[in-house]
Symmetry: C2
Subunit: 388 residues, 2 copies
């Protein structure tokens, strides 16, 4: 793991140099996991002079070279001074994630430093995965796909979206899913993923996921809402692929009996969009080109009104994945950063057809030197759950 | 629901008056749920002049009196000005929860106001539950208890803590559990709760829960770690009781075969502590008195070294519950605020015995005018999972 972490820190420090950032003080779970390989309640100080100090409040048992047990962050300044580490000119803190009170407290430890809000910078660092991170993503995607192949065997007549979801959750867990669904953004909440049946796919949610759903309760307005699964409904399954700490993203569409023909047509257009975008993806391509192409294909098939939602639409067709489900880049009309080798993307063209439900697919891809490699592999046609 | 929300807002405004807070701008999911009965991506403005304006970014379909669709928070200031609402002298923002960048943006909308960091204040408001909130907590506790009564039927030989957990999760879900485990504190993470078997109960975690456990992966260092359930192990089950948006908290201890006698003795001491504290609880009693009494009883039985953990100890014996699992008050040695009628508390005396595991109980209580009412009711002796 040390070698792996050195690769990540080398990338981080290289990008810090480019942005003229002298040091980082990291304390969010995701960035601690990325830079130290584990989660502690504490702070990781990294600077361009090669200093690496991990300050740990909990657990109290942490020992090792470069690890310092502390009770409060004010000790960080004292320890840095003892070590003769001079204050950075520009210090990165995670300003989109740190609560305001914690930010103020940490800023006060560095009275002679300029503070840089580096949450988005760190997301850019994490956007390109190392070879080992790609292994973990492939492992998640493999198990995710294996678990999805069991979905038809879980269905029985009389189920609701909710009871089907419960059996899928159990199956995913038995395949090794960790359950935790990490999302970037303080107000983003969901439990395990979503199963959207019939008209519930049209229900808007407050969250910035691709689709919504009314959810089971006012306290959780997303996903399955207890809809009885009935003949002619599309059932979209989009569950969290967290089997390794790295999250694959994969959506599949099922049906209860036969759907109206337009549903199969729209599903095939979704696959056409996915495959067209996948063929376009390579280093240098920008997200806006991918997004605009997806809109153009939807329009060409007369499906604009249903693309990425009907009443409320998502304004993206894909996004990075990794330690959180919504890593960079996000594929929107304003996504101008070029793709890079080692990025991992979910492409998720979806249509919401009133009265039928949501159709479409989502798959996870690794950007390679000359194209992409798809790592989620479950059968992608609309599978009739009543047909077995 | 309107009447219920008016009761909550009356309590909030009454406490704002006492603290000389003129207005609140609320935007975290939990406080939006508390004050509006639902979650939106947006902001709720409440002032002592009776103004109530809900500014909604998502979903885009929200309409109604006092609801304003916005694209960005800067519109809040414009709309307040249009309505002739004057800037508050003291404005509350949620400073322990808002990301620093969001805080700065909101502060800039109120250049003539003093800003008060009101996260803890709002926790105090939420600490005393209305009659309806108590109904929802009782409903969660009832279903939580019913689901726990099925745990013995879920066990089979050869299970790990993880596979037992998966079957408990499914059973909880089938009883109506929403799955989402809301916690106060940005760095607090867990999936559904914890099943701790044998020595894993001694493993410290970075999180401020009562006990730890190594967890299944470095990315989730809490709870079950794949321990094979074997003769002589204690198995502690502490799963999230979120059936209504309000979370009951309940821990039960099981065994694989017969445990060493000291485990039953320690478990009985835990029940003695729980019942002693419950008998002490009434309005006016302070948390420190409860905590110190729990330490005294543990000491009297020679169990100090094992109380609330062995290698790493939790420094509390109970806590409020509600929309999050860790509401106020927290029962620690520095908890000086008196209990009030309508508070809902979890009491969780636990012992970690090396080589055996964790024993003890946790139950949820409503503080009444003269005492407490226990609302979690599952059998509380150590149940042998192999005995059926």
């Amino acid at each position: 793991m040390t070698e792996e972490l050195n690769i990540r820190l080398a990338r981080l420090c290289n990008m810090m140099k480019q942005e003229k950032i002298d040091a980082c003080l990291i304390s969010t779970n995701v960035n601690l996991l990325y830079t130290t390989g584990r989660i502690v309640l504490g702070y990781y100080y990294i600077d361009l002079s090669g200093n690496r100090l991990l300050f740990v409040k909990r657990p109290s048992s942490q020992v090792g070279e470069g690890i310092f047990q502390i009770r409060k962050p004010e000790q960080i300044g004292e320890i840095l001074a003892e070590k003769g580490i001079s204050a950075p000119s520009i210090l990165l803190l995670e300003g989109e994630e740190l609560p305001q009170s914690e930010w103020v407290r940490l800023v006060s430890l560095f009275p002679h430093s300029s503070i840089f809000n580096g949450s988005n910078f760190l997301r850019k660092v994490r956007a390109v995965k190392t070879a080992y991170e790609q292994v973990l993503l492939k492992e998640s995607a493999k198990r995710h796909s294996e678990a999805y192949s069991e979905i038809p065997s879980l269905y029985h007549s009389g189920m609701t979206d909710r009871t089907l979801s419960i059996e899928i959750e159990r199956t995913m867990r038995l395949h090794g899913n960790l359950g935790l669904f990490r999302i970037y953004g303080a107000s983003m909440e969901i439990y395990f993923g979503s199963v959207l049946a019939g008209k519930n796919a049209s229900e808007p949610s407050p969250f910035d996921f691709a689709l919504g759903g009314a959810g089971p309760d006012p306290s959780l307005p997303i996903g399955a809402n207890g809809t009885l699964l009935e003949e002619g409904m599309a059932v979209m399954v989009d569950m969290c692929g967290n089997f390794t700490g790295y999250l694959s993203d994969q959506t599949r569409t099922f049906s209860i009996g036969r759907l109206p023909e337009k549903a199969y047509e729209a599903h095939n257009v979704a696959i056409e969009i996915r495959d067209t975008l996948a063929a376009m993806c390579k280093p240098g391509v920008t997200g806006d080109a991918l997004y605009e192409r997806s809109l153009a294909i939807a329009k060409q098939h007369g499906l604009t009104d249903y693309f990425m939602g009907d009443a409320q639409k998502a304004k993206f067709v894909g996004h990075g994945v990794g330690l959180v489900i919504n890593e960079l880049p996000v594929l929107t009309s304003r996504s101008y950063d070029p793709l890079e080798e080692g990025m991992v993307l979910a492409l998720e063209p979806k249509f919401v057809l009133p009265d039928v439900g949501a159709v479409g697919v989502e798959d996870t891809y690794i950007v390679t030197a000359h194209g992409v490699e798809r790592i989620t592999t479950a059968e992608d046609s609309i599978i009739d759950l009543t047909a077995r």
